[in-house]
Each structure stands twice: as C-alpha cells, then as structure tokens.
Amino acid sequence: MTPEYKEVLTELLFQLADDDFIHAFRGSEWLGLAPHIEEDVAFSSINQDTMGHAVIYYKLLEDLGMGAADDLAHLRDASAFRNGVLLEFKNGSGEYLDSPQYDWAFTVVRHLFYDVYKKIKLEALKQSNYEPLANAARKILTEQTYHLMHWQTWFRQLMQSTEESRARMEQALLRCWEDMGGVLTYGQYGDEMTALGLIGSEEALKNTWLAEITKLFSEVDYKKPSDEPKMAHGNGRNGEHSADLDHALKILSEVYRSDSQASGW
C-alpha cells in the first residue's frame, strides 16, 4: 500500500465511519420519544445497526494503524470529523432530556435521503479494490434494504395524508435539500478516491441518487426544489462543521473523557 493510497483510503473510511456514527447518534436521541411505541422499537433497532456499521469502519481504521477505534470515535476534534453536515444537525430544539421539540418530518426525510444514498454507495464499495472495505460493504448491505424500506414507507405515508403532514414534510424536504450536497460529495480527495480504485465516481453515484430520489418524489407528486441539492452549511468532508457537531461530540465522549486514568469501561 503506497502512502498516497493509504492517505486517501483513510479519508474515505473516516467519511463512512463518521457519517454512520453521527447519524446513529441523532437517531438514538429519539429513544423514548418516537411517535408511537412500535416505531420506538423499530427505529432503535435501525440506530443500533447504523452504530454497528460505524464500528466496522472505525475498526478498519484501527487495523490501518490510525489508533484505537474508541479513541477515533471519542477523542477527535470536530474539525477532524468527515461526516456530511446534514447528518449532524439537531433533531429539533431542546435537548434529548430537556424539552425536546423534535421534528419527525425532518428525521424521516434526512433518513430517507441518507439511506437511499448509503445503499448506492455500498453497492459501489462492493467493487472497491480495498478488499476489507468491499467485504464490509457486502455485510452492511444486508441490513440496509430493511432500513431503506422503513423510511420509504414513512415518506409515502406522511407525504400523502393530512395537509399538515404534507406541509411539514415539504418544509423538511427543502431543509434537507439545502445540505444533502454535503453528503453526496467526497470532499477534496474525491478524484483520487476514484482514480485509486477505492470507489466509483462521485458524479455517477450522485446521478444515481438523483434518479432514485426523483422517482420517489414523482410517486408522491412532488418536484425537486432545484437541479441538485446544495451544500449551504459547509463541506463536512473537508472538516467544516456546525456548532451542532461540537454539541454531539461533547455528549458522545463525556464519560469516555471523564477519567483519563481509566484503562477500561
């Protein structure tokens, strides 16, 4: 493995790991607050899977000598995170234990956008010339189909029901469209990732996403807000993030950081 290959590979792995890690965290904040108990159980199972996927990627980084998986997840500064900014946004106002005013429409749309893309990305990663990554993608894909179905069902239902529901969903769609571009990009090393045979081209995957999402939109009589999604709040792939990520990382690492002498938890 050349130093260049390794550098680009670790960039890609951090993107994959951080996306799932932060996304699973935002999902897990809903625990006990979902619209009904059945959803609480189902959503929580999805969050566990997603967190498990993050662990797989962090372990791949550990295997490459980047440090212990737990340190990678809990001790890096926000600027070292490579997740798309859309995924780090809070679920709504308030805190998860203190007056949470969480937005279910935003959650449904964000999950739908992300999971449609995640499936496309995993399909592409199956062809990766980094064999451990291709194997991980195959494994993760087996769970992804169910997740995607879950959010598609929510999307169809909430888009085709009451006026209030439709209005909330359209608002959420606009908001997610503003920053989905930051999930679809590979960041500054994107061309190298493809040239080195790690993953298919950013452009090709983005177009597949656009085609699939447009198809879902047309099913519920909705037109995409513009040609393609934007990246209004910065490019997380390059380490640009919102204050919401600092907030998330503080919670996620509070206990891990609390006792520097501890050798185990």
């Binding site: 625990l31 566990q48 234990l97 529901s165 919670i251 996620l252 206990v255 891990y256 006792d259 501890a262």
Partner: protein, 323 residues
Amino acid sequence: MSDVTSLAHLTDEEKYEHFMRRIENDEKIEAEDWMPDDYREQLIKLITMHGISEIMGAFPEKEWVPKAPTLHRKLAIMAKVQDEMGHGQLLLRVAEDLLKPYGKTREDIMQDLFSKRLKFHNVFHMPSPTWGDAAVIAWLVDGAAILSQTMMLKTSYGPYGRALKRICQEESFHSKHGESLVLSLAEGTPEQRRMLQEALNRWWEPLLMFFGPKSSKETGHTNVDKNLKYKLRSKTNEELRQEFLTKYVPKIKLLGLSVPDDTLHFDEEKGEWIYQEPDWQKFKEIIKGNGPKSDERLALRRSSYENSQWVRDALAEYRMAAV
C-alpha cells in the same frame, strides 16, 4: 370446546365457580375466555403497570445511551433499552386485549399515565446522574425485575405468561450486560469505583422498595392477596426481597462494595435477612407520582406524545384513505 359457548347457559355464580376450578387446576385462562370482572381488573392493573414501567424505564437509561463510554458499550446499552421498549410494546398489547370490553384503547392508557392514575415502578422515578447508575440499574434493577418476572412465569393468564417468557429470556442478557458494566467499574480506577459505590448507595433503598411493602400494615395488601388467589403470582413481596438479598448481597461484597445498611445481616435462626426497612411513606409518595424525577419524566413523555400528535393523525388518515 370453547368456553364462550359451553358457559352460555350458566348463572354468573356458576361461571365463577367454573372459573375458580380452572384456576385451581392450573389451567391457563385465555383472552376470549369468560373471567370475572375482578380478575380482569387485576390483570389490567398488573399488566398496564408492568408495561408502562418498561417504557418509563427507558428514561433513566436514555441519558446514558449516547454517553456510554465505548463503542461496544454504546451498542450494548442501545440493545438493552430497545428490549425494554419492546417489552412495553408486548405488554401493552396484552393489556389492550383485556381493555376491549370496556371500549378502552392505548390512548386511554397513555392519558391515565399522564394524569398519574396509572402508576409505574418506584425505581423509574429516581434520578440516574452518572454512568455508575446505568451500571447499577442494569445489574440490580434488572436483577430485581428478573426475580419478580420469573415468579410470574406460571401466571394463570396465558397471554401474560407467554409475554413474560420472552421477556425473561431477554432479561437474562440484561443482567449479564449489567454485571459486565459493574465489573469494569469495580476493577477500574479509584474514581470509577467511587462512581459505582455512590450509585449503589443511591439505589439501595429504591431496590428494597421495588418489591413492595412486607404486609398490609404498610399500604393495605388486597392486590397481592387477590393476585395470589388468582394465581397471577406465587410469592409474596417479602419472599422476593429475601431472594434478592440472598442472590446479590454476597456478589456485592465480592466486588469489594459495601451495602449502605449497617444493620444488614442474615439471621441464621430465623433463616432470613434482617435489614433497615425502607421509608414506606416515601414509597407511597413516589409511586403516586411524587418522586424526585416523576414530573420531569412524565412531562418528557407527555410533551413528546403531544409533539407527534400530527404524525399519528397523519397515519390514521392514511389508513382510512387506504381502506
């Protein structure tokens, strides 16, 4: 032959006698079988309280789901709390079937919870300020719950017994998870040990309370008596508490932790544990909904429920349109 048709010609008294004979013969009662109102009401009380306790039980642990120190612990506690929500779901469905003749639904259960008419276990009214609490909850609160749930496995109501069977299987993983958390802290730094000991101190009294008062003197005991008569349960509160002490006091000591009760000892002559009685007046207040965290957690449930009313409305409308 189904109970419904064969009993049609009997008087209420005869039905009751027939029912009690079935109970005495250890037959299982099913949802569609004839049952006295008294039995149905006891079941509803027991199962809604159990179900809603599972759900409210997610809150003291919820804080520690994202904060769990390592990736491995994060996954484990996520799985654990999800199981608890799943138990709640399973039990509420059993309760919903029992409520049908009264024209009541899950909505009524939720409203009863919000108005404090429906009670939930004392332990879930308590604060859980550190990771040590998450460890003690999983080890000892779940440990206590396993004892009382195992005791109910042979309950005379079939659907409850079947739900409990699945619940108990999952609970055995929870206490293993809890044991592992506690062990890591007990073997850790002085800071980690202190965190664990303090959490144990906080949880000791609530744990003793968990099984309920010893005799009718403290709160009036008609529920326990009825539940024994109908074979919904097979042991008294005190029997369960004694079992708990026998099982866990040696383990606690083995970890080098101390129990915050100087009077605690096993009386060989009486063959039972002697312990400092918890404050039963405080217990009564707690389960009435006046515990340290009762209002905050109920408010959290209520506001999230109201906040997502539009979602449930949308689902109902969508289903209507689909028919």
